[in-house]
């Protein structure tokens, strides 16, 4: 279903040369943990009354990480990640999709160690007691945003290895918006190779999709004038969606910790959407027309972040 895709694995390089704080040290340890330990476990994602269970096997060996994830609820889906290369197996639709140099992160891998310093620029990090998750003792760290553009994060990191065992996003009202947490976990010195293998490796006859292809020049027509502090575009792609004559442009922005999607499509593609804010499945959304296009910004961030991102989007060479 995917058309040309351009992956922009760039981040703002303007990281201030400030001395590493205690908070950024903590973040660095959490970010590095999943590169240093091996484990098998099951984690749950919960948001309102929606939840999903995933089994994960993770091996770290001589700096190389391999993950095998498999959904245990809903449709079956397997993911194998070797370093930055990700392969999705979707047996029900007989589709296998690959992506090299993926920007995506899967729990409990929060962000790359190179991002720890940047993330600590936008969050105040403090310790908040201890807890026990999936049979392991952990220390709770609260990431309080320094501005109004992101929500609070609460991370319980395993006492010895710093592996994040539970990550929760908490809004300004202290409601827990979503939670990733291990329900079962075994930190192991060695992983059984069978745990890392796909159940049915024979994908002959399956649809093969590649997520990384040449860029479409149309992408260049849209840019952001000014983004909320810390946010940068990490990927843009174009996709065909059901019932839409024209493809939809999908841009992804992140501050290293949270993710925001921007969808752009011609007005002729969809029914009149109008403008304004809405909420869907726990995330906020902001919609507005720009010229002959409709734009919707989606993410688990405060509404003003979405409004600002939507307001900053500009079409180059647009007719006045």
């Amino acid at each position: 279903m995917r058309l040309p895709v351009l992956l922009l694995a760039f981040w703002s390089s303007a990281v201030l040369a400030e001395p590493a704080s205690e908070g950024s040290e903590w973040l660095l340890r959490m970010a590095s943990a999943s590169r240093e330990v091996s484990f098998v476990g099951t984690f749950m994602y919960q948001r309102g009354d929606f939840n999903e269970t995933t089994r994960i096997a993770h091996r770290s060996e001589s700096g190389q990480s391999i993950d095998h994830l498999e959904t245990l609820s809903g449709r079956q889906r397997e993911i194998v990640r070797v370093g930055q290369d990700v392969t999705w197996y979707m047996p029900e639709s007989k589709t296998v999709r690959t992506e090299r140099q993926s920007y995506r992160r899967f729990f409990p891998d929060l962000f790359g160690p190179e991002r720890a310093r940047t993330v600590s620029q936008f969050y105040e990090i403090s310790r908040a007691g201890t807890d026990r998750v999936a049979g392991y003792d952990c220390v709770n760290y609260v990431l309080t945003p320094k501005d109004n553009f992101r929500y609070r994060q609460s991370i319980c990191a395993e006492t010895k290895t710093w592996l994040p065992l539970r990550v929760a996003t908490v809004n300004e009202r202290q409601d827990r918006l979503e939670t990733f947490a291990f329900s079962q976990l075994q930190l192991l010195p060695k992983i059984d190779p069978n745990d890392l293998r796909v159940r049915n490796p024979d994908t002959s006859g399956w649809t093969q999709e590649s997520a990384a292809q040449a860029a479409d020049p149309a992408f260049g027509n849209w840019f952001f004038r000014e983004l909320p502090a810390g946010f940068a575009m990490v990927s843009e792609s174009q996709r065909v969606m059901p019932g839409r004559p024209q493809p939809v442009i999908h841009k992804v922005l992140s501050d290293g910790m949270v993710w925001v999607s921007v969808f752009i499509e011609p007005l002729s593609n969809t029914p009149a959407m109008g403008r304004g804010l809405s909420q869907q499945g726990g995330a906020n959304a902001y919609s507005r027309p720009i010229g002959n296009h409709h734009v919707t910004v989606v993410g688990l961030v405060p509404v003003q972040t979405l409004v600002l991102i939507g307001g900053a989007l500009t079409q180059r060479n647009a007719a006045p």
């Binding site: 948001r47 999607s261 109008g274 304004g276 809405s278």
Partner: protein, 152 residues
């Protein structure tokens, strides 16, 4: 001020929302903005009970320099509180009225109004959400996969 007001009345809100967000970026009058965003967040979540109308009324009571549409603002806020509970996909339109007091200071009044989302817009938003969660965050794969299949 009149230009802003008429723009609001005419539904020409382009730029105003961005202004609002930019002002909170610059941290000017940060507290007032922050409260307004809270209010908007509450409306969207639909978990405000009667607190929105109450809080709007309270804010108006605390600030005696009030522009003429005060009752209107109050009434609208109340209708938001009532209808948001019954509407899953509600859209709140945000605008602001800039008021200049006799002392030359600018004060802002926020207007949280609700527009029913067009019934056909809800599935479009649901598609976006499925793409965002599935594509970017690897969550809610059922919805994402069905969307992918339908597009083939």
């Amino acid at each position: 001020m009149n230009e802003r007001l008429s723009a609001l009345m005419d539904g020409e809100l382009d730029g105003l929302e961005a202004d609002l967000a930019l002002r909170s970026l610059k941290q000017e009058d940060a507290r007032g903005d922050w409260e307004s965003w809270h209010l908007i967040g509450d409306v969207l979540r639909g978990d405000h009970g009667c607190s929105v109308a109450a809080r709007v009324s309270q804010r108006l009571a605390e600030e005696p320099t009030v522009f003429a549409p005060r009752p209107l603002l109050n009434q609208q806020a109340r209708s938001v509180a009532l209808s948001a509970a019954a509407s899953v996909a509600a859209v709140a339109v945000v605008g602001y009225l800039a008021l200049t007091t006799a002392g030359g200071q600018t004060q802002d009044r926020y207007d949280v109004r609700q527009v029913r989302l067009a019934p056909q817009a809800a599935p479009v938003l649901a598609d976006y959400m499925a793409l965002h969660q599935g594509e970017v965050r690897n969550i809610g794969m059922d919805g994402y996969d069905r969307l992918a299949e339908a597009a083939r």
